[in-house]
């Protein structure tokens, strides 16, 4: 087999290098201090600033916002034997990127929506009972063995979430097993299911070979499909999760972007982390990684064709449908609260 190109600095094939660093009029912004506020990730914006953001974004057509986004994303400058894409860090996690994603994914759903068998199954499940879901969803079916839960509590005894939160996987398994529709709906509307850390410590301890964390994962999916997650503080955090992990997947083919753990948001990581984070590009390059560059190791920019391919898969696999449901529930609740969707995003990401 050919040795892979992790060591090949010319990955991928280089085009003619740009002569000059693109200027601001070409939507490539070098000085981040002068960024328009729709590129701010600040949670403390004033009501007036939020109105300005919304007015600007609402004023853009679908084509315009998508075109501006990709023009900015693809601006590049030669650096260290390859190309550096300076605007990726400006775009990620902003109201602008979230608005682009909403519009673009809606277009995808319309374009590729017909005949999607996975989405058809989930749409059907939305209209059926919760008990039906538990008897039919693949993860729920595999999570409860034929011999059932005997309420021994082994899962709860070593559960890290049960130790620190008002949470008890044994009771969740009992509720599921009793198949009481009202009790299940109450569970889906509560904070309870969202405390699970999905570590799986419960699974090898169950004497009946049940999988409590798998069952909870299935219940969380159901909660969002039914729109019950917005009834709880922990549940509606899914709107922030949909844009954090979903935004990274959709735009960078990775659930985490290397700039996500910013030092401002992670003061608990200490002063050494702050030092590191402020010069991340230089440290990355010094160690052979590829910060916002074409490449293969950490921080690389994914090839557009690769991104397109996985987007098709996430659409076919029901990911976009799930994001649309989360989006619709959030919009509805934001309207009820009389706040913009941008305010709603920041609210759910910081409350609790």
């Amino acid at each position: 087999m050919d040795k892979f190109d992790l060591k090949n600095q010319a990955f991928p094939v280089q085009e003619t290098p740009a002569e000059d660093y693109p200027n601001e009029s070409q939507n490539c912004i070098k000085n981040t201090k002068n960024l328009p506020i729709w590129f701010q990730r600040d949670f403390n914006l004033s009501k007036k600033d939020r109105e300005i953001i919304r007015k600007y974004l609402d004023g853009l057509t679908d084509d315009e916002i998508i075109e501006i986004y990709y023009q900015m994303r693809d601006q590049k400058e030669p650096w260290d034997g390859g190309y550096f894409y300076p605007n990726i860090q400006i775009l990620f996690g902003t109201p602008f990127e979230r608005e682009k994603d909403r519009r673009e994914q809606k277009i995808w759903n319309e374009k590729y929506g017909e005949g999607n068998e996975v989405v058809a199954w989930y749409k059907g499940a939305k209209e059926k009972s919760c008990v039906w879901w538990l008897e039919n969803h693949i993860i729920a079916r595999h999570a409860l063995s034929a011999s059932g839960c005997m309420s021994c509590g082994a899962c709860t005894a070593l559960c890290p979430a049960a130790e620190f939160f008002d949470y008890n996987p044994r009771i969740i398994m009992e509720t599921v097993q009793e198949k009481n529709e009202d009790a299940i709906i109450q569970l889906l509307k509560s904070d309870t299911i969202w405390y699970c850390t999905q570590c799986g410590s419960c699974k090898p301890k169950c004497p009946r070979e049940n999988n409590p964390f798998g069952m909870i994962s299935s219940l969380r999916q159901l909660s969002q499909i039914k729109g019950y997650h917005v009834y709880s503080v922990r549940g509606r955090q899914q709107y922030a999760a949909r844009h954090l992990w979903g935004g990274n997947l959709w735009n960078r083919a990775c659930t985490l972007y290397f700039r996500d753990p910013s030092w401002e948001a992670h003061r608990d990581f200490g002063p050494r982390f702050e030092k590191y984070f402020k010069n991340q590009e230089a440290y990355f390059r010094s160690i052979g990684a590829c910060p916002d560059m074409d490449g293969s190791l950490s921080g690389r920019k994914v090839h557009p064709e690769t991104l397109h391919e996985v987007r098709r898969l996430w659409h076919a696999g029901g990911g976009l449908y799930m994001w649309e449901l989360i989006e619709d529930s959030a919009k509805k609740q934001a309207d009820e609260l009389g706040i913009t969707i941008d305010e709603y995003h920041d609210k759910v990401k910081t409350e609790g």
Binding site: M1, P12, P160, D268, H303, W314
Partner: protein, 353 residues
Amino acid sequence: MIENNRLFSEVGRESLWKRYIKDIPDDGYFLTLSCILGALYPGSEAMLPKVYDLLGLNWGTSPKPESGWTCCSGIAYHGDIMPIEGTLLTVARLWSIAQEIGVDAITMSCVTSFGIHCECKDLYEQEPGLKEKIDRLLKQSCGREFEIPKHILHISDVYYHYRDQLRDNFMKFQLIDEKTGRHLNVVDHVGCHYSKLFPEEHSLGGSEYCEVLSGMGTAWGGKEIDYPERRHCCGMGFRQCMISPNRAGTMASVHKKMKSMSPFQPDLIITNCPGCQVFIDKEQWAIHEITGEKYFIPVLTYQEVAGLLMGWDPYEVVGIQFHTVPVEPLLDKIGIPYDPSESWLGANNRQLY
């Protein structure tokens, strides 16, 4: 039966142990990476291909950038924004690429990814018709075909497999105090999704007696430390650590572990899960700020431990400056030389601080 104060005889132990040993092929590996490890410990990621090459292995990854590596979508699945079908398809695509380059052992640096690949394989084995359905969807969406790979290996499995060879042929140092000759106290923290999801099929030693990291630690000169909360989760929890208001749960789990291991005076903690590595290392600072308890036990990935023992540059190659808990005191114990003035050098040796 109890023989010589042991629960099982050696023969019995050996026979039981066979249930928890996995078949690790010598090479023919497909390499997939982590979406978090490289962000915070880029040296750990960059060292993987170096070690594969050093061992002279036959390995590969995406053959061309336009059909490149992507994340497995595992965090999105466990974070509940991706249905299982989306994750099955993402993993099927990675398996399809592995098939293109002709290998049937998937190796990944991420424990979440490892758990996801194992779960996909398990689902195909347990659920009639699922393979045919994902085959159809993959073909319709991007024209690819895939087969279920024979081996799912975490890269710590590979290091474990080659632990003696790495020591005998490449290591210049051991996990021994150079001044006293004391074997260093090594705590292993195995990622939950490595050992707890499929303990018999995919974990070296199962969930309780997992040997993947302690095996490396002892082979490289250290002394294995057992402590009450050894198998307790680090609390990363996906939505717990990444949605700020939930992070207290993560910190509390790390605190519980640190309190439990501290009386055993660990010299270092070895991890194989990127998420555990991040939070066990980084939350020690916050725990100190909040409680005044100063643990500051260096936390290293197995790649970093191997790199340091092989004499690779602590800053330029291994990247110890990216740690919250300083690693230099450990280097002093082992006798690994380093130049502190190089700790904050960037590209082209530019001094950043």
